[in-house]
């Protein structure tokens, strides 16, 4: 079955430090991969996507992600985390426009 996995339930970082949220995929063919963020009591917000092209994709709020075919990964990164980045992050893949989500990673950025 095609899927994405987020191996870490939680990530804790200090403000100003680099933030990485991990995602691996098991998808046949060309993967269409996405990152979404869910702030408390708010809906899901689209951050970025990889469909084709450059392996490094840039998205909203200073986030970027690197598509790595050999490692089947699509890790989300931010060079300098903010307290306001504390939220629940989901990796997802699209199959015929239908999204399948990973389990989610809770990010806590401490001041």
């Amino acid at each position: 079955a095609q899927s994405v996995a987020q191996p870490e339930d939680q990530v804790n970082v200090a403000e100003g430090n680099p933030l990485t949220v991990k995602c691996t995929y098991s998808v046949s063919g060309n993967p269409y991969l996405f990152w979404y963020v869910q702030y408390p009591n708010r809906g899901l917000q689209f951050l970025l996507k990889y469909i084709t092209g450059d392996n490094l994709v840039k998205g909203s709020y200073g986030f970027e992600a690197e598509f790595n075919k050999s490692q089947t990964s699509f890790h989300l990164k931010k060079p300098s985390a903010l307290v306001s980045d504390s939220a629940l992050y989901f990796c997802a893949h699209s199959n015929d426009y239908k999204l399948s989500f990973g389990a989610g990673t809770t990010v806590t950025v401490r001041a």
Binding site: G43, L99, F101
Partner: protein
């Protein structure tokens, strides 16, 4: 950017009753979907809302339990029928604009509690 709204934002319902959730977009969309997010869990696709025809349901979801309508390009409803406490979840609609982007944009969600 387009605005996606859902009504109600939250509700508390008695078991055995039904609730209809509305999703409205302020511009035409190509595709509309409904997802469920059970407490502390990830999102699961319920169905694709097809304009003018029956929705396409994912494995584990059936029309009798989750009837869906989509009468036009900007509006859809999801009904949660004969509710039980296990239906307590956040229900989210999502949309795709155009045909090349693939990314979905989500409504704010409807938080349903069944007692």
């Amino acid at each position: 950017s387009a605005v996606i709204s859902q009504k109600p934002s939250r509700d508390i319902c008695q078991r055995g009753t039904s609730l209809t959730i509305q999703c409205q977009v302020d511009s035409q969309v190509t595709m509309m979907f409904w997802y469920r997010q059970q407490p502390g869990q990830s999102l699961t696709l319920i169905a694709t809302a097809n304009q003018g025809s029956e929705a396409t349901y994912e494995s584990g979801f059936v029309i009798d339990k989750f009837p869906i309508s989509r009468p036009n390009l900007t509006f859809s409803t999801l009904t949660v029928s004969n509710m039980s406490p296990e239906d307590s979840s956040i229900y989210l609609c999502s949309v795709v604009f155009g045909t090349g982007g693939y990314e979905q944009y989500f409504g704010p969600g409807t938080r349903l509690t069944v007692t």
